[in-house]
């Protein structure tokens, strides 16, 4: 489709899932698109890495929020192969009386009835219903304030808001009131108002804050919990590893004729007469395009597009964005199958949560506020090789752990010693539930938020690029007056996790940004 090697309708910066979705969406509308990726590998946060011969999920390890519209548009799992397995959640308890939940049903791992099962089911059901309503808003740009509150933009947007309002109304008065009460509230109180503090409450609290610079007591964490549950919240393990996810997005884009160049460093975005003209690469090559969609963070995008091209208010707003990454990624190659007393092998293959109570999660957050890592860590661990033996050499096993809290701005910096300390603390925490696990570690990989920032360009190594605080979502995501993908200069768009609706392996931001670009007509008819 390319008119020439160096002229495209649109350039997409970054070959993560959002960049690839944006590219595929534009290409589906007949546009010629080139994706430029700084690293040598495609996939951003959803890719695989080799660890001692095993295929490990480098950063993200589960899918739970893939946008159904994106799945349909890209044909993920239909036109393009993508197979996943749903994992139940296992809330680990120090007394080994672990709790299991799947689809809102909680039991003890040994099959006994959990005393909070009924209350948990009600709470989970309610949150999932509320989340589904909010989830509808992911498929389009956030509500506009352009003409003040009385102007919701186009009729189509009005209809989307109306749909939300209608959905709320259909919940009935009591549930609608409950929605309006809890929506801006904190997860800690919401959970503990319904169930007693323990591993089940802890797991829910941990889900509410994973990736965020927040503890469960922070107002706004009910929203982040609902965001996670927007598509049901079931955790899917991709068969073939996270690389299979990257490959699926890549194939979907390539099948539509998208060109993807890796290992490409952009010097700057060429701007003339307040419009983007293309990019100049560090190697001196120029690529021309009428639109540029960046899945990099707003500040980086602003840097390469030239800060002087933005109005001072926008610069100030972007500089003030919060993106303090708090999660590290640890992969362990084990030379024996992991043993968690109290769990069957099948249960061990689930999504294991170390968060013995909501109070524990809040306590773990405290040090992160002051640039220190948690003493007692909150962990989400999976053993991909128990579900997909092809990922490891025979006899070996893989544990992938998302570890909180490890602040991006660690006092003293993320040195090798700091990484080793985080690993030691992780093993010490895991050892409580899987005694002796430290002895079976053959290889390990530790990625601090700073490493994740280096690898993927994610600002602050932050899961969502920009913190999903209530003052940085929807109409003010990433910032006031920069919320509908267009980013200051004519033809420049944000298409990554920093744009509405936000992060997770979802793809909605990329799709919405591409649709907005098409709608704005910068690419011609």
């Amino acid at each position: 489709m390319a008119m020439s090697d160096n002229r495209y309708d649109a350039i997409v910066i970054g070959a993560g899932h959002n960049g690839l979705t944006a590219a595929a969406t534009l290409a589906a509308a007949g546009k010629s698109v080139c994706v430029l990726e700084r690293s040598d590998r495609i996939g951003g946060m959803s890719r695989s890495v080799d660890l001692g011969g095993a295929t490990a999920p480098e950063i993200a390890h589960l899918l739970y929020n893939l946008n159904p519209t994106v799945v349909r548009d890209l044909g993920l799992g239909t036109k393009v192969p993508l197979v996943t397995k749903i994992l139940p959640t296992v809330c680990l308890s120090p007394d080994r009386n672990h709790v299991l939940f799947a689809q809102g049903e909680a039991t003890f791992a040994n099959g006994a009835v959990h005393p909070d099962a009924a209350a948990f089911g009600l709470l989970h059901g309610r949150l999932t219903r509320f989340a589904a309503l909010l989830g509808q808003m992911a498929d389009g740009p956030p509500p506009a304030l352009a003409g003040g509150v009385l102007d919701a933009g186009t009729l189509k947007e009005m209809a989307a808001l109306g749909k939300l309002g209608w959905g709320l109304k259909r919940l009935g008065k009591t549930e609608m009131r409950e929605f309006l009460r809890v929506i801006l509230s904190n997860a800690y109180d919401l959970i503990l108002d319904e169930i007693s503090d323990g591993p089940l409450a802890g797991a829910l609290a941990a889900d509410a804050v994973r990736g965020a610079h927040a503890g469960p007591r922070s107002p706004g964490t009910v929203f982040s919990l609902m965001y996670r549950l927007g598509n049901g919240g079931e955790a899917h393990l991709p068969i073939g590893g996270m690389g299979a996810v990257a490959a699926a997005f890549e194939t979907a884009a390539r099948n539509r004729g998208v060109a993807i160049r890796t290992g490409v460093r952009i010097d700057h975005i060429i701007v003339a007469a307040d419009r983007v003209q293309g990019v100049l690469l560090e190697d001196g090559t120029t690529i021309h395009a009428d639109a540029i969609l960046s899945s990099a963070g707003p500040a980086q995008t602003m840097q390469i597009a030239g800060v002087a091209n933005f109005d001072i208010e926008a610069v100030r707003r972007v500089r003030n964005l919060r993106h303090k990454g708090t999660v590290a990624k640890i992969n362990l190659l084990l030379d024996a199958a992991p043993v968690f007393p109290g769990l069957t092998r099948e249960q061990t293959a689930g999504r294991l949560i170390v968060a013995p109570s909501a109070t524990y999660v809040e306590r773990a957050f405290n040090p992160a506020k002051y640039g220190e890592m948690s003493q007692d860590l909150v962990i989400e661990a999976v053993h991909p090789s128990l579900s997909d033996p092809s990922l490891t050499p025979p006899g070996l096993h893989l544990m992938s752990a998302v570890v909180s809290y490890a602040p991006f701005a660690l006092t003293g910096g993320w040195t090798d010693a700091a990484r080793a300390e985080l690993l030691a603390r992780t093993v010490r925490t895991l050892d409580i539930f899987a005694p002796g696990i430290g002895g079976s570690i053959r290889e390990s990989q530790v990625l601090s938020p700073a490493d994740i920032a280096d690898l993927t360009g994610a600002p602050g190594g932050h899961w969502h690029h920009v913190e999903m605080g209530i003052d940085q979502i929807l109409t003010v995501r990433p910032a006031n007056l920069i919320s509908r993908y267009a980013f200051g200069i004519g033809g420049l768009y944000l298409c990554g996790a920093s744009a509405h609706p936000g992060g997770d392996v979802m793809g909605a931001a990329g799709r919405n940004a591409a649709l907005q670009t098409l709608k704005d007509g910068v690419l011609g008819a």
């Binding site: 506009a144 304030l145 352009a146 003409g147 003040g148 509150v149 009385l150 008065k173 009591t174 609608m176 009131r177 409950e178 309006l180 009460r181 809890v182 929506i183 801006l184 509230s185 904190n186 109180d189 108002d193 007591r217 922070s218 107002p219 706004g220 003030n320 919060r322 809040e362 306590r363 405290n366 506020k369 002051y370 605080g469 209530i470 003052d471 940085q472 109409t475 003010v476 006031n480 007056l481 919320s483």
Partner: protein, 545 residues
């Protein structure tokens, strides 16, 4: 057990809100009775003399939020209320420096510049935003919070008023307003200022009285509860009520009695009498029964319904919502009699800012750590305090040459943790003294001779405040000021307009919209609601902006 006169209305609790409601009911011609459990009136708006010659405002201690519409309408100055503005304030550092918050604009600019020239511009932007937000919110204080789930014309019209006001802001300001209402005071200040000391000085207003930290989203809004007031029309100004905060309650009490109302002191409500879903009166602790078809409770929503109403008289959902309502004790109070003015070695001699609010917190992280202690059931080892010496301006507070100091301390838990057990009973003389020592050590940063100056000190923990005043957990706002407990959610969704599931029964305290602070807005709004329901809505001004 005596049967007494019948009244048209009874108000349970003589706090400033209860008295405000009572005033308006009495002025509308209702035969109104106020019953108060203590031997004095005022609730947490009170002046107490605990040592000869000194007067303590021993709960609330400064005045700004009291709605001027109410002050004027009830002619409170005629009943002795006089609010004297104070100027400035300061935060002292351990290394002998300070940041003075001066009321003279140019002097303040110079003082900020002394710390960081760039923060001078930041301050201009900061105050612009805050004033704009204050202007936005002020008209809502004396209006009902609309129920967004209701199709009732009054709710729709209130909702329309809200939408119109929001629309009037324009796109940019609306976005900024959404952010301001949802962000933390810490993040808000980080966006503006560079200097830790200046940030710390301002941040206190975002957390005072709450169970939140400076980095908890929503605390920027709490700041407004400290800036949206005025003294004689000067928005954001604070003052002392001459003779202590009790002057406010006493003026309200006198206005009420002049309007024909009766106050019974030393007799708290034991039970609200409910029959067939209708309120019939109150039974007092002493067994006396008073009957009235209208009963208003100035007690907080938890105390009212969980302690003084039979569960059987309430719908289960309502009770559950009340149980869930968060009223968290987070602050303590020290009231100190001084034999003379303490020395402030860092401050210039006779500095006027010493007459304002004084602090010794120097960074946002220090304040956040203070919150971390509280979450674990400990008082802050490095506490925040808001300290004033009103006797410098109001000589009635202490004997000649001597002074009175009020110290608001944050954070102190209601249920203190001792050996892993959290309980209000853990507040003993020993723990109270340990808290006081911790606070005094930090006050000594500003005035090293503080201990030598002390003649008497009263230490009030959240537990003590609950026991004496009746506020659940000693929370000064009768309920956390978080999003889930503001506007149409305050105190309970569906009952945010002063009404309750019991016919004829109302709640009129700070548990209701617009919340706490010595504002009297809940009391006035509730009175308007009550009068409207009995067809006397025209007998009091609407105050609607």
């Amino acid at each position: 057990m005596g049967q007494h006169d019948k009244y048209d209305a009874i108000v349970a609790g003589a706090g400033h809100n209860g008295l405000t409601t009572a005033c308006y009911l009495a002025k509308a011609g209702l035969k109104t009775l106020v019953v108060e459990k203590n031997d004095w009136i005022g609730g947490a708006t009170v002046s107490r003399s605990l040592i000869d010659g000194w007067t303590y405002s021993n709960c609330s201690y400064v005045c700004s939020l009291l709605r001027r519409e109410i002050v004027r309408d009830l002619e409170l100055p005629r009943f002795g209320l006089q609010v004297i503005p104070y100027e400035g304030g300061a935060s002292f550092t351990r290394d002998g420096n300070y940041f003075a918050y001066l009321s003279d604009h140019d002097a303040l600019r110079r003082e900020i510049a002394r710390h960081n020239p760039r923060d001078v511009d930041a301050y201009a932007r900061f105050s612009q935003t805050v004033i704009r937000q204050c202007r936005f919110i002020r008209p809502f204080l004396l209006r009902n919070a609309p129920d967004p789930t209701s199709m009732n014309p009054r709710d729709l019209s209130e909702l329309l008023f809200l939408i119109k006001r929001a629309h009037g802001l324009g796109a940019k300001e609306l976005g900024e307003t959404l952010r301001f209402w949802t962000m933390s005071i810490g993040d808000f200040l980080d966006e503006h200022f560079e200097t830790d000391l200046i940030k710390a000085h301002i941040a206190g207003s975002g957390i005072i009285g709450t169970g939140l930290g400076v980095y908890s989203p929503g605390t920027a809004y709490v700041l407004l509860h400290h800036y949206m007031g005025d003294v004689d029309g000067a928005i954001g100004a604070w003052g002392f009520a001459r003779g202590g905060m009790g002057a406010i309650s006493n003026a309200l009490g006198a206005a009420f009695e002049e309007a024909g109302g009766t106050i019974i002191k030393g007799a708290g409500v034991e039970r609200f009498i409910v029959k067939n879903g209708k309120v019939g009166g109150v039974t007092l602790e002493n067994g006396d029964v008073y009957r009235a078809p209208i009963v208003a409770s100035n007690m907080d929503v938890k105390r009212t319904f969980l302690k003084h109403v039979d569960r059987a008289d309430l719908p289960g959902d309502f009770t559950k919502a009340v149980e869930r309502f968060k009223i968290r004790g987070s602050s303590a109070k020290m009231n100190i009699a001084l034999d003379r003015l303490p020395e402030f070695p860092a401050a210039p001699k006779g500095a006027t800012f010493l007459r304002g609010d004084l602090h010794c917190s120097t960074s946002l992280n220090e304040l956040e750590r203070a919150y971390d202690d509280w979450k674990e059931g400990r008082w802050s080892s490095d506490p925040y305090f808001d300290m004033l010496i009103p006797s410098q301006i109001d000589p009635t507070m202490a004997p000649p040459g001597k002074h009175m100091m009020t110290v608001f301390v944050q954070y102190a838990p209601y249920d203190l943790a001792v050996d892993g057990v959290r309980s209000g009973q853990n507040w003993t003389d020993a723990t109270r003294k340990a808290l006081a020592d911790c606070v005094l050590d930090k006050i000594a940063v500003a005035c090293p001779d503080i201990r030598d100056r002390m003649v008497h000190a009263e230490v009030r923990t959240p537990w003590d405040i609950e026991q004496e005043v009746g506020l659940t957990e000693g929370n000064i706002f009768q309920g956390e000021l978080t999003f889930d407990q503001l506007l149409f959610n305050r105190p309970v969704p569906g009952y945010a307009q002063y009404d309750t599931p019991i016919d004829g029964m109302y709640i009129v305290g700070s548990s209701t919209h617009p919340g706490g602070g010595v504002m009297a807005a809940p009391g006035a709004n509730a009175a308007r609601e009550i009068l409207r329901k009995i067809g006397k809505g025209k007998s009091m001004p609407s105050f609607a902006a």
